[in-house]
């Protein structure tokens, strides 16, 4: 009896299933409202001249550490892109975007990795205000500088420019907040923008309490703590496009390295960041171009460094003043739809560190040279071979470690992905 009943249910389901209505006749069907969906994978094969365990402990002296490899913070494992020798699955980027109503659009960009899911960006944008003003709210990449707003899969190299990575970390200024941009009614492109952000950057900005809440090392400051402003202008001369911009970011700074095994420390103070960017694109044909892109960043950190012991107790708390700058300059030649190649130069220009007003000597010649060649089977698939010689990395004994890296990167996308802006 049971069997008959079960089979008749299955039969009924099959009959019903075979009679599914075509999409346009389903009364309450909403599938036409599905947002644009795309999925981008980024995977790489890496060969470094230094072992993974050592790479994770390298630092740019006086500037930043933990830029390469993967790091454990308690139960939380944090890996940078291309973290290990051999194969790496950097991320699966899921992008959803659609109009919300006549007044604004929404975009969500999610990074799935083996360590979990990150909301890379999630924001709404309104273009309905008129007068060339655009409002954005949520979590997004700041429009500071040129590269900061671009996603990893748009970059011309597999890794971030050294100065960006050192001053802002692998995500750049990626914050929760609001952005207001205004495009001027001028015959040439002129845009100004202002951003009010929470301020949670691992390398430069932060406002959280460091240490025990009862007896903090550095007390936090609630609320918004980072402000960014910029002006950009562009002009065409024949087939050449020039784009330049200046940017400024100012905020509170809390950098917590209290959990580090070696020399645990924390910093609390204020941070200022200046940026200047310049891009020249010379279009040779519809498919061929030469692009020269350079950015200069300058950072000022002013506050107190707390040197800690293994238990988190403060050993000393000298004043700390850092004035640092660096730049990258890259040239990329697009030969045709299939081939691109490029070279990049990275350097830290200034590295002044004053501990209790006494200058701490820092090594010179912090630079990196990178070259790459790309093959695109189509607009949707890119394979890149990149070599870099990094002279900016030092080990824990303060010895320079020349680092050679070869990265073979595959970046593949499917689905409906919106075109990128300039």
């Amino acid at each position: 009896m049971k069997k008959t009943l079960l089979s008749s249910v299955v039969c009924a389901a099959l009959v019903y299933g075979a009679d599914v209505l075509p999409m346009e006749k389903r009364t309450f069907d909403q599938s036409k409202f599905i947002p644009d969906i795309s999925l981008i994978m980024d995977a790489s094969f890496v060969d470094r001249s230094i072992k993974d365990d050592e790479v994770a402990h390298l630092e740019v002296p006086g500037v930043a550490h933990g830029l390469l490899g993967s790091h454990s913070h308690g139960d939380d494992n944090h890996a940078t892109y291309n973290a290990q020798n051999g194969f790496n699955l950097n991320y699966a980027e899921l992008v959803l975007s659609s109009s919300v109503d006549p007044f604004f659009t929404m975009d969500g960009i999610f990074h799935f990795s083996e360590n979990g899911v990150e909301i890379e960006e999630l924001f709404f944008t309104s273009n309905a205000l008129g007068y060339g003003t655009r409002l954005k709210g949520g979590k997004f990449n700041s429009n500071f500088g040129y590269l900061n707003e671009q996603h990893h899969h748009v970059w011309d190299f597999a890794d971030m420019p050294l100065v960006y990575d050192a001053f802002l970390g692998m995500h750049g200024i990626n914050e929760i907040g609001a952005q207001l941009q205004w495009t001027a009614p001028t015959p040439f492109y002129l845009m100004a923008g202002l951003e009010v952000l929470q301020g949670e950057n691992e390398q430069s900005f932060g406002h959280e309490t460091i240490g025990d809440v009862e007896d903090p090392i550095a007390e936090g400051d609630d609320g918004v703590s980072l402000y960014v402003g910029y002006v950009k202008a562009s002009h065409d001369i024949g087939d050449t496009t020039l784009l330049g911009g200046i940017s400024y970011a100012q905020g509170e700074s809390r950098i917590d390295h209290g959990a580090d095994e070696e020399n645990p420390h924390a910093f609390s103070g204020d941070a200022k960041l200046w940026g200047a960017d310049f891009v020249v694109l010379y279009q040779l044909s519809s498919y061929s171009s030469i692009k020269w892109q350079s950015e200069y960043l300058q950072r000022e950190l002013d506050g107190i460094q707390y040197n800690l012991d293994a238990t988190g107790a403060v050993l000393s708390s000298p004043t700390m003043f850092k004035e640092q700058s660096g730049l990258y300059s890259q040239l990329v030649y697009t030969h045709d739809k299939n081939w691109r190649m490029g070279a990049r130069y990275d350097t830290i220009l200034q590295n002044d560190v004053k501990n209790n007003s006494i200058m701490v000597e820092q090594p010179n010649g912090l630079d990196r040279y990178t070259a790459m060649v790309e093959y695109h089977t189509s607009e949707f698939a890119r394979f890149r071979l990149q070599y870099s010689r990094d002279n900016a990395m030092f080990n824990e004994d303060g010895q320079r470690e020349k680092l050679d890296t070869i990265i073979l990167q595959a970046n593949i996308s499917i689905g409906a992905h919106a075109a990128h802006s300039f």
Binding site: T125, G130, Y189, T241, K337
Partner: protein, 292 residues
Amino acid sequence: MKKLLTLLTFLPLTLLAHLNIAVSYPYIGALTKTIGGEHITTTVLAKGNWDPHFIVPRPSLIANVRNADALIMNGGQLEIGWLPPLINRAANPKIAPDSKTFLNLSHHIELINKPKVVDRKDGDIHPDGNPHFHLDPQNILLLAGVIKDFLTSIDIEHKAIYEKNYGEFATMWKAKIFEWSQKMADKKGLKVIQFHDNLAYFNKAYSLVNIGTIEPLPGIPPSSKHTIEIIELIKNEKPFCILHDVYHSTKTAEFISGKTGIKIVLMPHDIEALENITDLVALFNHLTGAIK
């Protein structure tokens, strides 16, 4: 003094009445200017000698759409790779795709070659059909009417002028259509090869038969395997010529020509595609006279 004041008050108003219309491609600019006459100015975003699919969304174009009172686009996903970021950046509600000052021409034309299955393994296909519809002179006449209605809808005040300009253009164009069809009469049934099927509407209008493309699939650059197949096809089918666009390299076509002796005919797709193509009449004069 009073006169001067009146002048000063009305001067900005007359300036505002002057519509600034951004258009994606030169042919749309020419049509819009013909219908709009002195009551509008047009800003053409793309250059006529470049591949219409691959326009760099340079920031100067953001400024152009930022300052526009209306936008006319080709549509059919021809601008999908470059216009959306401009519209997004410009933050101008007048050119938002749902506004009444926005016109998508493809919505007024029946597109041909609409793929039954949409899959990127078939190359960079246009899901709505072939978007190069302006290369059929009959469609130009249709589009002129669409643009006239559009201009009238956003600027009713100058309705009579737009009607008059359209009437004059239609009379002239109809005579030209007759002239061109006479010129092309003996080309009926002629087999041709193309680089990319961007002359689909032109071929259909004059009954030319496209038997193959040099690119293996839409948007995919030539491969040696496919080139050999095309050489074989040319040897077997004996097409009259290769109709080649101006923006792709003719290298592969020249190689094929060297092996088979087939002629290569350069076919401009828009105004400015070649130096002597300065208006729509010159474009079709050239196209209908090129195949000899």
